[in-house]
Every structure is written in structure tokens, then in C-alpha cells.
């Protein structure tokens, strides 16, 4: 039975902030996926494992130095380097075969997650919040770390969005993604574009992992819980549309933040998945995707 409770302004603001912070986390995960998937066309199933690596890396550095920010930087850099090695040595030659790409990243993700499980065990690790205090925003008290995450999400969205739309790099990424040999004869160093895109995407996964570590606890398969949602977000948002994944992340965040008011949370989640499926069917190119192209 549905019942719609009345909510006060304060509650409303808190819920909206919850939705915003959750949406930003989804977006941080989705942004890297969106770059790699939307532009290279690779369903990077190892993305979740990269996220886990980012989280575990941060944890390890904190254990050693006690400094979260150092952990964040080091783990993002290390995972980016791993991404670089993967791309240069392993993945570069399967970009034009989406199925093979999916399968190999699926395998690589499995190996990373299982290696984490063997090394760390499957128990979860909690990382202390570097910003434990709450602050007053719009008349409500809200955890400052979550506000920080919102801020980082917004900066990433804006930064990468500008790169894609306004810069030549963005145009070259598009060109390489769509017809690599042609981009080459138009003077685009496509190998470099692939590398940049993959490394950037991977670094974003690590960033998402490091940033979520103080919010949630880390366990080897944490990525899987995020990327299913993230994949749906980028599809619904429109393949290759960075704006789309941002907007949809925000919407999903708000739906979950308010959805429990009317429906049991598990059903809210099921509903979000189901709605995304229906959406894919009726608009496979997504919200901001472009119309079907003829030969």
C-alpha cells in the first residue's frame, strides 16, 4: 500500500542532499565507465575491480601513514599506472571486438577481485572519515565528507564535460572511437587517445573507490554492487553522452533518496533497474544519445 507522508522542509533538504551525494557517487563510478564504454565501446567489466583496488589502496596507505589524502592520491596514481599497463600491453588490440573486450575485462576483473579476496580475506574494511564533522547547510546539519564528495563529483563532471565538448581532445576521442583508421589519416594519434581515455577512466574508478571508502566499507566484490547501476546509468543517459550519465545519476540518486517514503527500499531498487530496462528498450540511444544513423 502506498502512503505518502508529509515532509518538512528540513527533511526535504536532507533527503535531497542524500540523493545528491548518492547520485554523485554513482556518477563518479559511471563517469569512468562512460568514457571507456561510451567512447571506446568497451564494456569494461574490470571497472568494479579497479574501484575496489582504489579503495583497498587507500586503506593500505592509511594503515601505513594515517593520511587519507595521501592514500587517495597514491591509490589513484597506482591504479592509473595499472590501467596504463593493461591498456598498452593487453587491451589495445581488442578494441574493435566488443564481445571479446567484455570477456577479457570480465576475466581481468575476476582475477583482481579474487586476488584481493585471497590476500585480504573477504571481510570488509572500514576507512575512517577524514572529515568527521558535520556542517550546517541550508539550515540542516550534514556530514561534511559527503558534501566534499558532492563537490568532487561536480568538479569531475564539469572538468571532463568541458574537455569532451570544448576541446580538440574531445573531438579526437570521438573520432578515434568511431573510426580509428580514419582518425589516423586525419592526423590523430589514436593510440595515444585510447591510452588517455582508458587511463583516465581507470583513474576515475580508483577515485570513486577511494572516495567511497570512508562512506562504506571495502570488500573485494564491492565493485559489482556499483557497476550494474553505473552501466544502466550510462545507457539510459545515452551512449557517449557525458551529460546524460550525469543527469541520470542525479535522477537515480534522488529516486532512491525519496523512494523509500512510498515503497520498501528493495523494491525501489528493483524498480530503478526495471525502469532502466524499459528505457533501454524504447530509447536504446538514451536520453542524450543521437538518433539512429543510416549507412
Amino acid at each position: 500500500m502506498l502512503e505518502i507522508p508529509l515532509i518538512t522542509t528540513e527533511n526535504f533538504i536532507t533527503y535531497a542532499l542524500n540523493g545528491l551525494s548518492r547520485g554523485m557517487i554513482i556518477f563518479l563510478v559511471a563517469s569512468g565507465l562512460s568514457l571507456i564504454f561510451g567512447l571506446i565501446g568497451l564494456i569494461n567489466f574490470a571497472h568494479g575491480a579497479m574501484l575496489a583496488l582504489g579503495g583497498y589502496g587507500t586503506y593500505v596507505v592509511i594503515q601505513a601513514t594515517g593520511n587519507f589524502w595521501l592514500g587517495l592520491v597514491i591509490s589513484v596514481v597506482l591504479v592509473a599506472v595499472l590501467g596504463l599497463a593493461l591498456e598498452r600491453k593487453v587491451l589495445y588490440w581488442i578494441y574493435d571486438e566488443p564481445l571479446l573486450g567484455f570477456l577479457s575485462t570480465f576475466g581481468i576483473g575476476l582475477v583482481i577481485e579474487e586476488a584481493l579476496a585471497v590476500y585480504f580475506g573477504s571481510r570488509s574494511y572500514t576507512v575512517p572519515s577524514p572529515l568527521p564533522e558535520s556542517v550546517q547547510v541550508l539550515g540542516v546539519s550534514y556530514p561534511s565528507y559527503r558534501l566534499f564528495v558532492i563537490l568532487v563529483g561536480a568538479v569531475v563532471a564539469l572538468g571532463i564535460g568541458l574537455i569532451l565538448v570544448k576541446t580538440r581532445l574531445g573531438l579526437e576521442i570521438h573520432a578515434t572511437a568511431n573510426m580509428q583508421p580514419t582518425a589516423e589519416i586525419l592526423g590523430v594519434d589514436t593510440a595515444r587517445i585510447y591510452t588517455i581515455t582508458f587511463v583516465l577512466g581507470t583513474a576515475l574508478a580508483a577515485l570513486a573507490g577511494a572516495l567511497t571508502a570512508p562512506i562504506t566499507s571495502m570488500y573485494p566484490t564491492i565493485g559489482l554492487d556499483y557497476i550494474t547501476m553505473a552501466f544502466l546509468v550510462i545507457i539510459v543517459g545515452g551512449m557517449g553522452s557525458f551529460k546524460g550519465s550525469f543527469v541520470v545519476s542525479m535522477i537515480v540518486g534522488q529516486i532512491i533518496a525519496f523512494g523509500w517514503l512510498v515503497l520498501s527500499p528493495t523494491y525501489v531498487r528493483i524498480l530503478v533497474f526495471a525502469a532502466a530496462m524499459v528505457f533501454i528498450l524504447y530509447k536504446p540511444r538514451g536520453f542524450f544519445g543521437k538518433a539512429e544513423v543510416h549507412e
Binding site: R168, L171, E172, H174, A175, N178, M179, P181, T182, A183, E184, I185, L186, G187, V188, D189, T190, A191, K290, V293, H294, E295
Partner: protein
């Protein structure tokens, strides 16, 4: 005549099958040169080999005195070469304008870019009318115009054209030939692969005839307009 491009003993392969055999050609800075031959004789393969768009090849390609044989395609074209591929290869999801933008490297100033784009739009009015339309929705002929336009905006020293008139309506072919005429009079080198030799003969300085991967005839327009040669290498 100073050398711009020299190809020596080029052999090209697709998998195990060899397509080009010991091909040697050369091109001066302002030369307009044609490559003629029937279907499947290796014209496209030759052009592809010049910019290294091929599985495997041996031999050397020297451009402006540098051995570019092992360079990647983008490195070669950045030296001032523009390539109009046979299949046109227009970006379907990019607009006409974006397709043009893409071909110009970032070191060209904004004004110059706009000017070059407008030049293309004057040459091909149809493209001007459709500058925001996406490449994939253009007709075959419109795409060909765009492919040529995309080469022109780079203001190349060497222009490689692979069958620029294929799939075009006769009226458009006339336009294209006009454009080619204006190109060949400029101070740039042009290499055109064509089946349609009669259209091209007035334009070229020299030409090569290619037959199953080997250069079998070489000479100026007069030499190549010989009916006997046509009969032997072009008609059946």
C-alpha cells in the same frame, strides 16, 4: 623538379597474399600524377601503403627526404599529406562541420580555420547548406564532397585521391573535375588513383599504369592517352 615523394621496391601484402610487387614511383613538389588500372589492380593498396594503412609491406617510402616507411599513419599525414579514401569514411555521427574541423590540426588559428571551412562551403554549396547535418545521413555523393572538403581544409602539400569520382552523378563529376582542376594548378602535389582515365588525362603531368600489382607503363598524358595502352590495360 625537387623530389617530394619517392617509393622504392614496394611490396604489399594482405595476410599471405601479395598485392603489390616491386613498385617504384616518384613525385615532385608540384607534380600531378595519376595511377591508373582496372579494378583490383592495387591502386588503393598503393595509396594505403604510402600512409602505412596496411597489414604488411616491404620497401621504402621517402617523403621530403625522410624515410617514413615505419611511421604510423598520423605521423605521416601530419607532414602535410591529405588522403581522400576510396570509401570516403565520413564520421556518421559528427556534423559536416565537425568532420571538417577534425582534419585540421590544433596549431591552426581560429580565423584561418573558419576561412578554410568557408572555402569548402563555397566550393560545395550543398555542404554549406547542410553544415549541421550529420555525416551519416548524407547521400553517397554528398559524402564524397565532404571527403574531398576534409582534405582541402588541411591545405596539404600532397593530396592523395582515391577514385574521387566513383559513385558520383555525371553532373557532380563535372563539378569535382572542376575542383580538381583548381587544385592541380596550385603549388601542391597530387596523386590520383582512377579507373576513369579519360577524365583525368587533361589534369595530370604524368601517370603510371598498374596491372596486377606491377607498374607496367609510365609516361605523360600524351603517352598514356594511347588507345593501344587503354585497350591493353583498361578495357577487356
Amino acid at each position: 623538379m625537387s623530389e617530394l615523394l619517392t617509393v622504392e621496391d614496394l611490396n604489399a601484402f594482405y595476410g599471405d597474399s601479395q598485392v603489390l610487387f616491386d613498385v617504384s614511383i616518384e613525385l615532385g613538389t608540384n607534380d600531378v600524377v595519376g595511377i591508373f588500372g582496372r579494378n583490383g589492380m592495387g591502386k588503393t593498396t598503393l595509396l594505403n601503403s604510402l600512409v602505412n594503412r596496411i597489414d604488411r609491406k616491404t620497401g621504402t617510402v621517402t617523403y621530403r627526404g625522410q624515410d617514413v616507411s615505419a611511421w604510423s599513419p598520423h605521423e605521416i599525414v601530419r607532414e602535410g599529406i591529405a588522403y581522400v579514401p576510396e570509401e570516403r569514411e565520413i564520421y556518421p555521427a559528427l556534423s559536416v562541420r565537425e568532420n571538417l574541423e577534425l582534419a585540421m590540426t590544433s596549431d591552426i588559428g581560429d580565423d584561418a580555420r573558419e576561412e578554410r571551412i568557408q572555402n569548402v562551403f563555397t566550393q560545395f554549396e550543398r555542404l554549406g547548406e547542410r553544415q549541421e547535418q550529420r555525416g551519416g545521413t548524407l547521400s553517397g555523393g554528398e559524402q564524397q564532397m565532404l571527403a574531398i572538403g576534409r582534405a582541402l581544409v588541411t591545405d596539404p602539400d600532397l593530396l592523395l585521391l582515391d577514385e574521387p569520382t566513383e559513385g558520383l552523378a555525371p553532373a557532380i563529376i563535372d563539378d569535382v573535375v572542376d575542383i580538381l582542376e583548381s587544385l592541380v594548378t596550385g603549388d601542391r602535389a597530387v596523386l590520383i588513383a582512377e579507373q576513369n582515365i579519360n577524365r583525368m588525362l587533361p589534369l595530370i603531368d604524368r601517370g603510371y599504369m598498374i596491372q596486377t600489382g606491377r607498374i607496367v607503363e609510365e609516361g605523360d598524358s600524351d603517352h598514356l592517352s594511347d588507345e593501344a595502352i587503354h585497350d591493353k590495360y583498361l578495357t577487356v
